[in-house]
Symmetry: C2
Subunit: 229 residues, 2 copies
DNA sequence: TCAACTTTGTGAATTAATGCACTAAGCCCT
DNA sequence: AGGGCTTAGTGCATTAATTCACAAAGTTGA
């Protein structure tokens, strides 16, 4: 294998590419053909040099004096992020949130079809929600194999989250989106992103309190979150 | 005002304090009295030196050779994050997600009671969801004043999100949690945290693709997210 | 054809975050 | 009372991320 190892893009830049992509999709929808780093920076609320540097990690796709082509850049960002294909998702935990996500069309529309939902509660297994029937968490391995699942979403209660993660990993999943407010213990070969609303509110609380204490001289919260592994 | 400006804690540390807090609450619930930086580091999945540095921003509350007291540290973290009081929340957008959040008890249990929910759709206004009646977005200013709202949560569609933000800001809100996949334009005096599931999935997609391309030698996704302002 | 203008791409400086490694401090046991 | 052990606190080196500022490259118009 003399194949070139993929150029390493900084994590911080990777986290911004989806935001650029979303903005460019909006531009494309309004028939904008080109954009400059200044324009995208204004729309994304970041520094223009940062935009140029981020885009430069994809390759040299701009034209000096002109800017970047919307559709071409969309293509390049999608290629880099691995969005030229679909990634199948299974939801573990068929509670309020899990069911809401299973029927949420934002997943499918962005290329992440939810192909299964499971639970460990016999009362929930067998129920149908938006064309999916809740399966048994014990069948996860079969579901992952048969449905070619790539990503697991955990929407269980906190106490059940770790065993849900264990089951997903046992089934061969290497990417997890975790909504339970716990720190999952996983091998380093597995990617975990945490979404914890309580954490977000508590961060806001800090900056809000600071504004109150220091008058309004205080800084605001940074707009990127961090989800610890 | 010769009052000392509050010690500046790095943003990265602020984003970790809620995670420590959650772990310490679990320890307290199992009657653990003390912990060392090593133990908390293992539970939080971070470096022990980082834990010590983060906690040192709160003050010098550990005892060398012994560790930290669970309940005392909980108190200190809550004080620093502004969690000694409740912060009232209003939800803008009474769709699936908005209603789910309004009845989500994780908000209340962490000190963020949802005191109101509004929409601009006459068909939704007047409906009742878990002890709350959906109000008119036009009444936001009154609701914010009467209910002493501190934080606004945006769960509208993407096109409506900016005007929801404008309405919240007009009503005097300075902290916003945004679920719509758009970059809000807000004055720098307002704190915005974005939660975008599509972005999270796309970040996972990148690292998943990298694992496929480079064998499993590839790195995993960082576990902290970033939500740009 | 060339000068003026625009905008990318990037080296280099700066700032922020991380993690090592050591010192300081307190406990415990003999 | 004192030596050995443990662990907090932190200065410093390293790494990562951001931002500046400018050269390179292309466009446009005269």
């Amino acid at each position: 294998m003399t194949q070139l190892q993929r150029r390493k893009i900084p994590d911080a830049a990777i986290a911004r590419l989806p935001i650029y992509l979303q903005i460019l999709n909006n531009l494309a929808a309004t028939n904008v053909l080109r954009f400059s780093s200044d324009e995208l920076a204004a729309l994304a609320g970041v520094n223009a040099a940062k935009v140029r540097k981020d885009l430069s990690y994809l390759g040299s796709y701009g034209t000096r004096g002109v800017g970047y082509e919307v559709t071409y850049l969309i293509h390049q960002i999608k290629r880099e992020l691995g969005l030229m294909r679909e990634w199948n998702v299974v939801v573990v935990g068929a509670g309020n949130l899990g069911c809401a996500l299973a029927k949420f069309d934002g997943f499918l529309s962005r290329g992440f079809p939810v192909v299964g939902i499971v639970d460990n509660d016999p009362k929930k297994i067998g129920r149908t929600t938006s064309s999916l029937t809740v399966g048994d968490v014990g069948d996860l391995k079969n579901i992952v194999r048969d449905e070619k699942v790539n990503i697991g979403v955990i929407t269980t209660s906190s106490p059940a989250a770790q065993s849900a993660a264990d089951a997903l990993i046992e089934a061969g999943i290497t990417s997890i989106l975790n909504f339970a407010p716990v720190v999952l213990s996983t091998p380093s070969s597995v990617s975990v992103r945490n979404v914890d609303l309580g954490v977000e509110l508590q961060i806001l609380s800090y900056y809000e309190q600071m504004r109150i204490e220091n008058g309004s001289k205080a800084q605001s919260a940074p707009q990127l979150n961090s989800v610890g592994a």
